[in-house]
């Protein structure tokens, strides 16, 4: 498979207020094949958004190589980043105009993805008139309707209720199976990663600690026990990583959130 994303020895550090520089990305190597669904799983603050900013070409100050080919890059930010003075539809049109999508295809693209995310009735609403989760879904519509070849997604479903998130995850998978975009999906939710990905990279403190291939056949079912089993193993491996972490000061705090996520999912699975 030919790679559309190639990252080699990527290093990035931020300079703090006191002038000390802090490494946020430490020698990352990454290849993503065309049409692959990659999840990057890691706790808060480990550098996931920073990596995506580099891949999206927004952040150009780094050492090492980062090369992205294979068509337009779509980026779903961690926050919705909608233009508040435009309606939902106006926001989509802004993206479609900017990307110069053929006018004849626009209305079909908009309708399709609005329907998928359940936003068809909200075209004329301003961002402040829709809920946070709806805004996030609208941002997803905006990223999808410009038909990117590579889609970078930064914790897109973490603000959604479980039922909606579940439905959109499945929809995302069917879109992906249909169009075979390359997707880099950042999450701190192990269950979600196991359900979606071909491959999971576990990230901790600015480095990839582990690679997990997901052998589960597609199409996948959200309730597949194999997904559950794998996510447990991933978290367990994660825990071992954290135990081995030499500087445990900041990181262990984030581990419970991973477990919480899993518990919530397990609970959701039993209840629904």
């Amino acid at each position: 498979m030919n790679s559309v994303i190639e990252v080699a020895s990527l290093r990035k550090s931020f300079t703090g207020r006191d002038g000390t520089s802090r490494a946020v990305l430490k020698d990352l190597d990454l290849q993503v094949g065309a049409g692959e669904f990659l999840c990057i799983l890691g706790p808060s603050g480990c550098g996931k958004s920073t990596l995506l900013n580099v891949l999206a070409g927004l952040d150009k100050v780094y050492e090492g190589q980062a090369r992205v080919s294979g068509g337009r890059v779509g980026y779903l930010f961690q926050e919705p980043r909608l233009l508040p003075w435009l309606t939902a539809e106006g926001n989509l049109d802004f993206a479609l105009d900017s990307c110069k999508v053929e006018p004849s295809r626009r209305s079909e693209l908009k309708s399709r993805y609005l329907a998928m995310t359940g936003l068809s009735d909200y075209r004329d609403y301003y961002p402040h008139q829709i809920s946070g989760g709806m805004a996030q879904r609208l941002a997803l519509v905006r990223a999808l309707c410009v038909e990117p070849g590579i889609l970078l997604m930064d914790e897109p479903f973490s603000g959604l209720d479980e039922i909606t998130a579940r439905r959109i995850r499945s929809d995302l998978l069917s879109i992906w199976e249909e169009t075979r975009k390359t997707i880099v999906f950042v999450t701190h939710n192990a269950y979600e990663a196991c359900f979606l990905a071909d491959r999971i990279l576990v990230m901790l403190g600015g480095a990839f600690r582990q690679e997990v291939r997901v052998p589960i056949a597609r199409p996948r079912s959200y309730d597949d026990p194999a997904v559950f089993q794998l996510s447990r193993d991933v978290i367990k491996a994660f825990g071992d990583e954290i135990d081995r972490e030499p500087a445990p000061s900041a990181i262990p705090l984030t581990e419970p959130s991973l477990v919480d996520d899993l518990d919530r999912h397990a609970a959701a699975r039993m209840n629904i």
Binding site: A56, G57, Y75, E79, L83, S98, C99, Y126, H128
Partner: protein
């Protein structure tokens, strides 16, 4: 409705206060209105009012043309900010009377000098407003637009301008408030007509009825501009904004 009530209340307070002094020194609202009506019917009012309006509008337009670009520049470039901020502060500190005197001394007692003095007085506060606005631009939205391959002009027009526009609006209003006052002053010292000239003229004749009548006229015009022009523009442009409940 509340606005109307508060205005009525103000007029009543004025009436009551005016009872404490003889009417030649502090005329009440009815008497003032009657004097004003006499002036309006006499027809002289319109030239003076038109001249004042001309100076106000001319001054505002030039002040915006000076203040907005400088403010944008200062918001965008650290270096420009470092060089210019002390000048903006100086510009803000110099009393408007000094600008008026300098303009009349250097450019002569003419309309151009009056408008320049008015514009230069108002420009620094407009600059400060715009500068603040540009600094508050949400760069995350700019990043979003860049990811969607928006061209530079498109980003300026569709992402930056809508964010800066509220500040332009606010500074125009703010500038207008300053400009009304400075215009009257400029007319007083260097013009043969206008509301300020008339105020001074009647003051020299010690005719308080006329002084208050012209002040009233001026206030009414100002309110009308605010309510009939500025407010509707603002409401239209900011229709998308949520109502703030405090």
């Amino acid at each position: 409705m509340l606005k109307l009530l508060s205005m009525v209340a103000a007029v009543i307070v004025w009436g009551l206060l005016s009872l404490t002094l003889p009417p030649e020194i502090f005329p009440g609202p009815i008497e003032t209105a009657r004097t004003l009506w006499g002036e309006v019917v006499g027809g002289q009012v319109w030239t003076d009012l038109a001249m004042t309006m001309l100076r106000v509008v001319g001054g505002l337009v030039i002040a915006l043309m000076l203040g907005v670009p400088v403010g944008v520049l200062m918001g965008l470039s650290r270096r420009a900010e470092g060089i210019l901020d002390v000048w903006v502060m100086i510009g803000l500190t110099v009393p408007s009377l000094c600008y008026a005197i300098m303009a009349f001394m250097w450019f002569g007692l003419n309309e151009g000098a009056a408008i320049i003095a008015i514009a230069v007085t108002a420009a620094p506060s407009i600059t400060i407003n715009i500068w603040e606005g540009v600094k508050n631009v949400d760069t995350r939205l700019v990043a979003m637009a860049r990811v969607f391959e928006a061209s530079r002009p498109a980003i300026v027009r569709r992402v930056l301008m809508p964010q800066i526009f509220p500040y332009v609006m606010a500074s125009a209003r703010f500038g207008l408030g300053i400009i009304w006052k400075i215009t009257v002053l400029v007319e007083l010292i260097g013009r043969p007509n206008g509301v300020g000239f008339k105020l001074f003229y009647w003051y020299q004749l010690a005719d308080m009825r006329q002084v208050l009548a012209w002040t009233l006229l001026f206030t009414i015009i100002m309110l009308l501009i605010e309510l009939l022009i500025l407010k509707p523009i603002e409401r239209r442009i900011f229709a998308w904004r949520p109502q703030v409940a405090v």
